[in-house]
Each structure stands twice: as C-alpha cells, then as structure tokens.
C-alpha cells in the first residue's frame, strides 16, 4: 500500500446478507430500494463491495482508513443489525475500518440508547443521518435528543445534506438547509460533518454570524464528482478553509459513471491530487489530516488516532 495517510471519511459497507437478499431488504425499506435499485437505465450504481475487496481497493488508492457511515434504515432493528456488522469489521481490521453509527432519530429513546451502544462499541461518530430518508425535520424532538446524546459522548454527527437546486436523482434530499444554522447554534459543543459539501452551506459561511455558529462544522466531499465540477474543491477551501474539508467518496457508489461502473477509490483520489488545484499542505489536510484530528477527539477511543 502507498504510504499516504489518506482517510476516506464517507463510505458505506453493507452486510453480506443485504447484498445477497437485496429484494427482501428493498421490500422492507423503500428508501433503500430507491437509492440502490439497479435498472438497465441506471447511470449510477451502488457497487456493493465486501470488506476484503474494499481494503484491496483502498490499498490501491493509498487509503489507510475507511470510515464507514451507517445507512439511514427506516427500521430501528435494521439500524442495529447494520451497526453490529460494522462493529465486526472494526474488530477484524482495527485501524482500517472505523464506524459511524446508523441511527434513525424518529425512534426516540431507542435511538438514544443505540447512540450509547455505538459509543460503547468504540464508534467514532453517528450518521450519516438522513432527514429525507428517515422522514424527520431538523427540529424533530427525536433528532434533538440524539444530538444531545452525541454531544455528551463526543460523537461527531454526519448529516446527509442535499442541494436545493440542480438535477434530480434518486434520494435527493430537499430538507431546507437553513435549519442547520439553528442546530449548530444550539449544539455548540457538537461536531457536525455536513456531507456532500453541505448542500451549498459553505457559501453562507461568508456571513460572520454563520461562520461563528459553524466553528464546529466540517464538510465532506462525498459524491462530489456526481454533483459539482472539480473546481468546487478549491472554492470550498477559499470559503471555509482547508482545515474544514474532509475527503470522502461515498464508496461504493460509482461517482464517475461515464468511465467506471465498479467500486473504486482511485479515480477520485487521483482527481483530487491532480486536478483540484490544492497545495501539498491543503492536500495533506483534506485527504487525511483533518479526519485524523477529528478521530483523535471522538468517542470512547479518542486519542487512538492522535
């Protein structure tokens, strides 16, 4: 493996059973079905990959650590089962796989208990929370309880954030982005990771009041090539600073569908290294340094990544 120190902050790993019995899970969960269904017309696909395949692909791209985001299952039981699976990977491959917990905040106290269980299992955060997928608003009482628990346990929270404009695609989340300002103000000790470049929120950080409220906010680049031009990364750095941007791919989603149909990390890594206009220092921060610092401050195992 190339010695790069890269950390992919946003991937999804699915239990083998989900892949083998996709139809059954799709029947249980319409949102899962919508996001992962393959048809002859599918341009983008969730190219499921098992742990060993994933690590081999990560090695090829120079990625040392793969951060698994949970899935926004509508069933609390499926969230728990997904967390159990991710836990086994963190135990089997310590340091290679790190987990954020699947949580559906609409399950109230059960969701809070699952946050606590994720903490005990050594997870590094919770998310990717999906307001659109799990049908909750940003002022939902269940969500607020979950955030309160995450804040107390030093667990960063990754949110799926959709863009309010642009092309339509399966699973596009149109939750108004304005609400994240209130959340960031309310939970000023909680670290937020707003996925998919925060749906445009970096631009609003030009406002002094927003910048102040977003002192604990990071943005990941998950699925960036499907949504934005590569110059967006340079713009992000100017708007919020290189120390607030995290490399994330949304693996195993095929984010270069015109040239690749299989799970892959290398294409995005190479695009960022060669075409994003980042300095060596900025690359070091975005590709791993920022996430390493975050992991060292997160959850029960904080300092492990120091």
């Amino acid at each position: 493996m190339k010695q790069t120190g890269y950390i992919d902050a946003h991937t999804h790993m699915f239990p083998d059973d989900v892949v083998a019995r996709w139809d059954w899970y799709a029947q249980q969960d319409a949102w899962f079905a919508e996001l992962t269904r393959e048809t002859p017309q599918s341009r983008v696909r969730e190219a499921f990959s098992n742990a060993e395949e994933t690590l081999a692909l990560a090695d090829a791209a120079g990625i040392e650590t793969v951060v698994m985001q949970g899935w926004y299952w509508r069933s609390h039981d499926l969230c728990k089962r997904h967390n159990d699976y991710m836990y086994t990977l963190t135990q089997r491959y310590p340091g290679r796989f790190v987990a954020y917990g699947s949580i559906n905040p609409t399950f109230g106290t059960d969701a809070v208990r699952e946050v606590e269980r994720c903490y005990e299992m050594g997870f590094a955060g919770i998310g990717e929370l999906g307001p659109g997928g799990n049908l909750f608003s940003l002022d939902d009482p269940g969500l607020l309880d979950v955030l309160e628990a995450a804040q107390d346990l030093h667990l960063p929270v990754n949110f799926h954030v959709g863009e309010p404009v642009g092309h339509q695609y399966n699973g596009k989340d149109l939750t108004p982005i304005e609400g994240f300002y209130d959340l960031a103000k309310r939970y000023d000790k909680l670290t937020f990771v707003l996925a998919h470049m925060g749906g445009g929120l970096p631009f609003y950080q030009l406002r002094e009041d927003v910048a102040q409220a977003f002192e604990n906010v990071y943005y990941d680049l998950a699925a960036n090539p499907l949504l934005y031009t590569i110059r967006s990364v340079r713009a992000m750095v100017t708007l919020v600073g290189a120390n607030r941007v995290l490399f994330g791919s949304d693996f195993p989603l095929t984010i270069y569908p015109r040239i690749n149909k299989e799970a892959n990390f290398s294409l995005f890594v190479e695009d960022l290294v060669n075409n994003a206009g980042l300095s060596p220092t900025e690359l070091q921060q975005i590709m791993g340094g920022n996430m390493r610092s975050l992991l060292s401050e997160s959850g029960k195992n904080r300092t492990t990544f120091g």
């Binding site: 404009v165 445009g200 030009l206 406002r207 409220a213 031009t229 110059r231 708007l239």
Partner: protein
C-alpha cells in the same frame, strides 16, 4: 473604470421607522458620490428603493433623475416601480428609460409582494429585454440571523425563474442569495450566462474572502459587480473595476 453599482439616494423622511435604512447618513447625490469615491468609485449607480406605493416609486425616480441631471458624469440611475402598478408601472419605466435611466431596479419580490410568475412582472421583464436594459433585484443570504426586510426568495426560486429568461440581463444584489455557489454544478452554470451578482453588503458583515470565493464558484469575476449599498451599509468590500461587458452600459 470603477463604478459603484449599488447605492441609494433617499429622503430623510423615508428612513423613519425603516430598520433597513437605520444609519443612513447622506441624503444628497454629491455627498453620496463623495462617500463612495473615498472607496475608489469614479461613478455611482443609484438603485431605486423598492417601495410598494406608486407615488413613492415615482418620487424616488424623480430624485434620482435630478441627481443624474446635475451630476451627469458621476451618476447613473435605475428606476423603480412596483409591478402591481400594472400598466402604469410599464409606462413609468418607459418614461424613465427615455429620460436616460440605465436599468430597472432594484425590485424586491417578497418586500413588494409580487410573485416571480406575476403577469405584470413578466411584462416588465419583456420591456427590459426589448429596451436591452438590466433589471436588478434585492436578494438575501438566507442562512443565519434574520436581516430586517430579508427576502424570502431562495436560490431554487431564482433559478427556476432565470431558466425561463435567457435574454434578460438579470442582476441579483448581495451575492444573489447564495446562487453563485451552485454555479459549481454544470447544469446550473449553463443557466447563469445572463446573470450578474453584486457584492454589496446587506446588514451583515461578510468575510474578507467573499469576492474570491464567489469568483471561484463562478469560474471568474466577469459576473461580479462591485457595490457598496451606501448609505445603507458601512463596510464595503474593496473596489473592483467594472467587468468589460458592462462598461458601455454604465459609463
């Protein structure tokens, strides 16, 4: 040439009980120009204030017209109407453009209470297209603490409307409600060829990297116009020369 494209000329009595106008400190064109010139402006464009009342709109236009006549080298003007005035709004715009106004605005759909789908507004846009003049709008960066008079029109609303107006010169003030960010999406960028954004601050302090960030989002500064929002704001960004495409229009 350095042109401050976003200033306002107001009467003191208009500022009473108007939170957005608190702190306004100059009420004649010479003082307004001097204030902007201290930041580098060689010419100023006075934007009309988006009144709802037809008489106030006409009074605003007369005030700006007087300034244009007495300071022809230093002052250009945009005329304001409320589209709900209907046919009389169209007539007022025709009168103003004949008198030498260089654009229409700034209009404020949420403040003036009209929809982007309003038929009279559509006719007003048609008129601007026919006369080849820009039309400017008040917009707000809508994330954060509420700004007095904040616009409720969001980037998705603007974009939906813009997509049907490829031949109109559209000018969104105050960094266009955040729309420049979405020029990073190819399918959005292709619709912004006829859209410009001004840099005027609006009730909140903007980060020093605002212009550079917007430039990178837009892939260049050709669609950014320097404005101060004087006398309604106190901390403008550093002066920038007018993009070449606008010089014939504004100079």
């Amino acid at each position: 040439m350095i042109v401050d494209v976003h200033t306002h000329l107001l009467r003191p009595d208009w500022c009473v009980n108007q939170p957005r106008l608190a702190g306004c400190d100059c009420f004649d064109a010479a003082a307004l120009f001097t204030k902007s010139a201290a930041f580098g402006a060689e010419k100023i464009i006075i934007q009309g204030w988006p009144f709802v009342d037809a008489d106030l709109c006409r009074a605003q236009n007369q005030l700006v017209q007087q300034a244009m006549e007495t300071m022809a080298q230093q002052v250009g003007g945009f005329c304001v109407v409320c589209p709900a005035m209907g046919v009389s709004a169209l007539a007022e715009v025709e009168r103003c453009l004949d008198a030498g106004f260089v654009g229409v605005g700034q209009l404020d759909p949420s403040g003036q209470g009209f929809s982007l789908d309003d038929p009279w507004f559509s006719q007003l846009c048609d008129l601007c297209e026919t006369r080849h003049v820009p039309i400017s709008f008040y917009t707000s960066l809508s994330v954060g603490e509420p700004i007095p008079g904040q616009s409720t029109i969001l980037p998705a609303d603007w974009l939906r409307w813009i997509e049907g107006r490829h031949d109109l010169q559209i000018w969104l003030s105050h960094y266009g409600a955040g729309l420049p960010f979405y020029a990073l999406m190819p399918e959005v960028e292709k619709h912004l060829a006829n859209v410009w954004f001004d840099t005027a601050p609006d009730g909140v302090t903007l980060a020093p990297q605002a212009f550079e960030g917007a430039t990178q989002c837009l892939g260049g500064s050709d669609h950014l116009l320097w404005g101060t929002n004087f006398p309604c704001a106190q901390s403008p960004e550093p002066a920038r020369p007018l993009p070449t495409q606008w010089e014939d229009l504004m100079v």
